[in-house]
């Protein structure tokens, strides 16, 4: 249903990583069919028309799959709707007269670049440290050589669905990246293809994770914010594997 609502946007502006930030307030009229980011597009067009620099915010697919977008909306990573990335949020989730506070993802590991854009490159470094299966191009056997139980494949998929948006980190009071890391570790540990490197992968990824991010104290806020509803069970799984990995990796290096 196509209704128009009036809202008040309070948005974070920050020139550069070192500049102090501040909130700016803009009234906005918008149809409820618009997406949240289209509302910001419109605001940016108005700012530009008035000769003011548009608000920097990032997005790409606008379908909830690339993980580029991500805003704190009224204090919640990706806003009020469950299992929904910022780009999938629509204005019909808001009421006429609402004040909407928009901030960048706030986390020690994610410094602000400008306005609402943050640097999430530590997530790439975690993957780089072991989030892969070492199989060179051309080295793969026939895909049906190794059957994988359907349940295992499905469970692996549940973890692999992570879009790397970093909302879990932004939502966590400790800025921990356990949910993100456990999703990749879990995805690979559940598949037969992931077994040979299972223990070295787990240990390496956890260590890099800890060098950038805080520690997990099981608040569960990450899961609440996660647009893909990655299960907290994967964190438990990660913790278990990490303990085992410590033992096994020591034993394996002793054998060398």
């Amino acid at each position: 249903m196509n209704d128009t609502i009036s809202v008040t946007i309070k948005v974070w502006r920050q020139e550069n990583p070192d500049a102090p930030g501040r909130f700016e307030t803009h009234p906005q009229e918008i149809t409820t069919d618009a997406s949240f980011l289209e509302m910001l597009d419109l605001l940016n067009e108005q700012l530009n028309d008035r000769g003011e620099e548009p608000i920097v915010f990032e997005s790409d697919c606008r379908e909830g799959i690339c993980g580029t977008c991500g805003l704190m909306i009224n204090g919640r990573a990706h806003g009020p709707q469950k299992a929904t990335a910022t780009c999938q949020l629509h204005m019909r989730e808001f009421e006429d007269g609402d004040e909407i506070v928009i901030e960048p993802f706030r986390a020690a590991g994610f410094p602000v670049i400008r306005d609402l854009a943050v640097d999430r490159s530590p997530l790439d470094h975690i993957i780089e440290s072991g989030g892969f299966i070492s199989v060179g191009s051309g080295a793969a056997p026939d895909a049906n050589l190794t059957p994988v139980a359907r349940e295992a494949a499905e469970k692996a998929f549940d973890a692999a669905a992570c879009i790397g948006c970093g909302a879990c980190v932004a939502a966590c009071p400790n800025s921990a990246a356990q949910l993100f890391t456990s999703a990749k570790v879990g995805h690979m540990a559940l598949l037969p293809q992931g077994q040979p490197e299972r223990w070295s992968r787990t240990e390496a990824m956890v260590e890099v994770m800890e060098s950038y991010f805080g520690s997990c104290t099981n608040h569960g806020e990450c899961h609440e914010a996660c647009p893909k509803e990655i299960s907290l069970d994967f964190i438990a799984y990660l913790n278990r594997d990490y303990v085992k990995a410590k033992v096994k990796n020591r034993a394996l290096s002793g054998q060398r």
Binding site: E45, D49, R62, A117, L191
Partner: protein, 644 residues
């Protein structure tokens, strides 16, 4: 006067029977020995399926690779959004598929406008891709025995599409990304995120590097290499509204074109039939609803024009299931171009549905009654949820509304059998090249092509060319070719920032997109094409005079990023119109209203147009020259497509 076409392009297709051609050719190519590979530097621009797989594979082989993307992470490339699946001629379901059949279907699906040799190779390596991805941990759908599941997709009569829920592109890209990150960790690939290519540098006729802008600091930097690979995706966003991600653009390919690379078949664009119709004027992009929905959904419109009733109130007898009516054999599964054009026809005739009367119904009522709610939910649940989130309506009880949108571009940089452009040392892979899809791409074949190029074709063919350069140093980045390219970009940036205009970049992009959609969209005619050829330059003139880009060059400045991309879209749009005008036939996604059968089907002109049109840049404000590559069909008999 139009310059006369010259048959200048040599596709360098090897001799011999097609079935053994690639195997034999691999044996006859030069090799670079393992210890020499590290002496070669290769630039790969783009980290989508094509770029990530190529950079990873070249890194594994031992080349020194520099990988560039404008995203903050390689994993965010547009490939991530592909939903439906990837083809592979594995014939696991034992339903008669084979390499030859995939080859045949692709040539036919492309309406006989692709190069047989390339397509055959694509079909051959398709099977390796499935193996590779599975070994990387891509969680493809499996049956209860734990083996890989297949489905039939987009008009194929065999089940050869592998899929990972509705997120096949995501999972394949994460596989390629993980392979890439492994090479980054190993030190063989140097990754440059948030770096946008703004020029390709050519010295003495050979590509020797690129110039990039660091999107955070604004710094313009030259990079040299022995070879440059563009894996920079398609140009569907020329239409402004499309299913492509917001940042997809033609700049890399276009700047290569301006440096001498021929741009082939720009008018071959694919309009996808199943997208959610626009809901208002400032819509930013359109969302694709996976084509797989057509397996179970029935497409219809009210028989009466200007129907006022809700869909549920319209009795069966007053509904027109127009695809089932016109194409009894294929019904709702006709190829994309046929489905799209038919939707346009019924909407233009006043049968459109929804608040803006800009859609047709895709109805699941019959499927739910046949298979039950749960079976349909298991198949399409996430797509239905996505639809509901966007429109506020649930397809379980109300038919979906769909309409065609720009989705994929078959045109792109011309390449030979080695995937090299006509500029030596410059390669184009994935959607960025004019590719294997002829005038129309089959569903689930873009992912296949991107990964085929990156994992299994380019890594071989590039060696053949590099082997000759052993011992040659790269061109130093203080060479005048680099410094003048850097100065050119700095000038351009300064010019945009000092244009004292009044309208946003998006404003002009939206206006341009509307023109392109109306005249070079699903159906084209001479009058419209001529009109748009005079409208585009007028709008461009206004754009150059009146665009407002605020801020400065040395920070993250999104308007500045966009303005250069939109400027290139203007040039491209003009070339698309000229290409469409010159191609006096209908084929695949290019439908010229003057060239149709009495039944309204596309009518090819094989006598005069069985060729690739590849355009040569002659400088700004000078018309490009049209060159042709003749296409010969020795292995597939040409026929008029019929989906009746």
């Amino acid at each position: 006067m139009e310059p006369t076409p010259t048959p200048l392009l040599d596709p360098k297709v090897p001799n011999g029977p097609i079935a053994d051609m690639w195997e034999n050719h691999k044996f006859s190519m030069n090799l670079v020995n393992p210890s020499n590979k590290r002496k070669f530097e290769v630039i790969v621009v783009g980290t989508g399926l094509a770029g990530a797989s190529a950079a990873a594979t070249l890194g594994e082989l031992g080349y020194r690779v520099k990988s560039f993307t404008f995203h903050d992470s390689p994993r965010r490339a547009h490939s991530i959004a592909a939903q439906g699946g990837i083809n592979g001629a594995k014939n696991y379901p034992n339903d008669g598929d084979s390499v030859h059949r995939l080859f045949y279907d692709t040539v036919k699906g492309g309406d006989y406008r692709s190069r047989e040799a390339n397509v055959h190779r694509l079909a051959e390596v398709s099977v390796n891709i499935i193996d590779q991805a599975t070994a990387q941990g891509v969680p493809f759908a499996r049956d209860y025995g734990g083996l890989l599941d297949n489905r039939s997709f987009g008009g194929a009569q065999v089940s050869r599409t592998f899929y990972a829920r509705g997120q096949t592109g995501q999972q394949l890209l994460l596989g390629a990304y993980s392979a890439l990150m492994r090479q980054v960790a190993a030190g063989s690939v140097e990754l440059h995120n948030r770096s946008e290519l703004l020029d390709v540098v050519v010295k003495d006729g050979r590509a020797c590097g690129i110039v990039t802008r660091d999107l955070l600091s604004g710094e313009i930097t030259p990079h040299s290499a022995h070879a440059v690979v563009l894996a920079t995706g398609g140009y569907g966003n020329v239409y402004f509204l499309s299913t492509n991600a917001m940042m997809c653009n033609v700049t890399a390919a276009w700047r290569a074109h301006r440096r001498g690379a021929l741009f082939a078949n720009p008018c071959y664009t694919q309009i996808h039939p199943t997208c959610i119709p626009a809901s208002d004027d400032f819509q930013s992009k359109l969302t694709l609803m996976s084509e797989s929905l057509r397996n179970d959904g029935r497409i219809w419109v009210p028989s009466a024009s200007d129907e006022g009733r809700l869909p549920g109130d319209i009795p069966e007898a007053e509904r027109d299931y127009y695809l089932e009516r016109k194409y009894p054999a294929f019904g709702n599964l006709v190829p994309r171009d046929v489905a799209s054009r038919n939707a346009k026809t019924v909407v233009d005739a006043g049968h459109g549905v929804g608040p803006l009367l800009n859609g047709v119904y895709l109805d699941f009522a019959a499927a739910i009654e046949r298979d039950g709610h749960d079976a349909i939910a298991a198949r399409y649940g996430n797509l239905f949820d996505m639809y509901q989130r966007i429109t506020g309506e649930t397809p379980y009880s109300t038919p979906m509304r769909i309409y065609p949108a720009s989705h994929y571009t078959m045109g792109g940089l011309w390449v030979d059998y080695h995937l090299m452009t006509n500029v030596p040392g410059l390669y184009a892979i994935g959607e960025a090249n004019f590719s294997d899809h002829g005038a129309n791409r089959l569903g689930a074949s873009a992912l296949m092509q991107g990964l085929a190029d990156g994992y299994f074709v380019l890594p071989y063919t590039i060696g053949d060319d590099l082997a000759d350069l052993l011992g040659d140093p790269v061109v130093p980045t203080n060479d005048p070719v680099f410094t003048s390219a850097v100065a050119g970009i700095e000038d351009e940036t300064g010019r945009w920032l000092s244009t004292d205009g009044t309208r946003s970049v998006d404003h002009f992009h939206r206006e341009l997109g509307r023109m392109v959609w109306d005249n070079i969209g699903m159906a084209r005619n001479e009058r419209g094409l001529r009109q748009v050829l005079s409208d585009i330059p007028a709008l461009r003139e206004e754009f150059c005079r009146d665009v407002r880009v605020l801020g400065s060059a040395n920070t993250l400045n999104q308007s500045l990023e966009k303005v250069g991309r939109v400027a290139d879209f203007f040039d491209l749009a003009e070339l698309m119109a000229r290409d469409a005008l010159e191609r006096e036939e209908s084929c695949g996604g290019h439908f010229r209203e003057e060239h149709q059968t009495t039944e309204g089907e596309a009518r090819r002109d094989d006598e005069n147009f069985s060729h690739v049109a590849a355009w040569e840049w002659n400088g700004p404000d000078i018309a490009q020259t049209r060159h042709i590559e003749e296409l010969t069909f020795d292995n597939v008999a040409l026929s008029q497509r019929s989906y009746k």
